[in-house]
């Protein structure tokens, strides 16, 4: 039963973080909310007994992407801090689209889904290694190429260009 409590605690943290990201006007609060959401996603991975993915999530996102966002904000947005970032023009259509998609998803998949008590199995990491270096080896290699292309592309996009 304590697993259910942990699950809903994680869900609450994720929702608070996501609401902060969507609704705040302060960029630093946006980063903090995003961090809370990403940590709670890592917690969900732990809850489903996928330790390796959880560690990778913390390393890649909290250690990498979040710091990258912080650097981008330091360079870019420093003169726009404090100005309202929310537009009220499209909030009603956007809200109706979001709620509609939510109801559509729930209606299609069904509100029940997998039972929380039945979720989870033991011994994830050996299977993960076998999958990555067996069935999914071509995809794994392609991901390496994708990361290299990302590195080169990011340098090409952000490296040149005159500063204002």
């Amino acid at each position: 039963m304590s697993g259910i409590v942990v699950f809903w605690l994680l869900a609450a943290i994720a929702f608070v973080g996501a609401l902060t990201v969507v609704a705040t006007r302060d960029v630093m609060r946006l980063v903090l909310g995003l961090g809370a959401f990403l940590v709670s996603v890592a917690g969900f991975f732990l809850y489903f007994k996928m330790e390796f993915i959880a560690i990778a999530q913390v390393f890649v996102y909290v250690g990498g992407v979040l710091v990258l966002v912080l650097f981008a904000i330091m360079i870019v947005v420093r003169d726009e801090i404090g100005t309202p970032a929310l537009s009220s023009r499209f909030s009603l259509p956007a809200a109706s689209v979001s709620v509609g998609l939510f109801l559509l998803l729930i209606g299609t998949v069904g509100p029940e889904g997998p039972a929380l008590s039945a979720v989870g199995w033991q011994g994830g990491m050996p299977e993960l290694g076998r999958e990555l270096l067996g069935t999914y080896l071509p995809h794994f290699e392609a991901l390496g190429v994708l990361l290299l292309a990302t590195l080169v592309g990011v340098l090409a996009i952000s490296g040149k260009g005159e500063s204002r």
Binding site: A14, V22, F45, A72, E80, V97, F102, E131, T150
Partner: protein, 96 residues
């Protein structure tokens, strides 16, 4: 009430953020919300079905999302360097 409701809610919250945020950082963060919610959903169904494949797929999603964030932030940097603006509704000019 279950994991489906939680992840669908987070997904649609991210969608709402993408549609309403005016700053490029906020839009990128909302896209991260969408990808994170979808990944949790994938992992949950994989764990319920006892499929070890879902772990590898979740790792792939994670890597691709990180690459997307890096490219998006590089585009933000380039846009601000060229035009001095970072609002999505102010970046209306397309030039090479």
């Amino acid at each position: 009430m279950s994991i489906v409701v939680v992840t669908a809610g987070l997904f649609c919250l991210g969608l709402y953020g993408v549609l309403t945020r005016r700053d490029l950082v906020g839009v990128l963060a909302s896209v991260e919300l969408i990808l994170g919610a979808a990944n949790v959903q994938l992992v949950a169904f994989g764990a319920a079905a006892r499929q070890p494949d879902s772990q590898a797929l979740a790792l792939f999603v994670l890597v691709i999302a990180a690459a997307e964030a890096a490219v998006g932030l590089a585009l933000l940097l380039a846009a601000v360097r060229r035009t001095g603006r970072s609002r999505v509704d102010e970046l209306t000019e397309v030039e090479g």
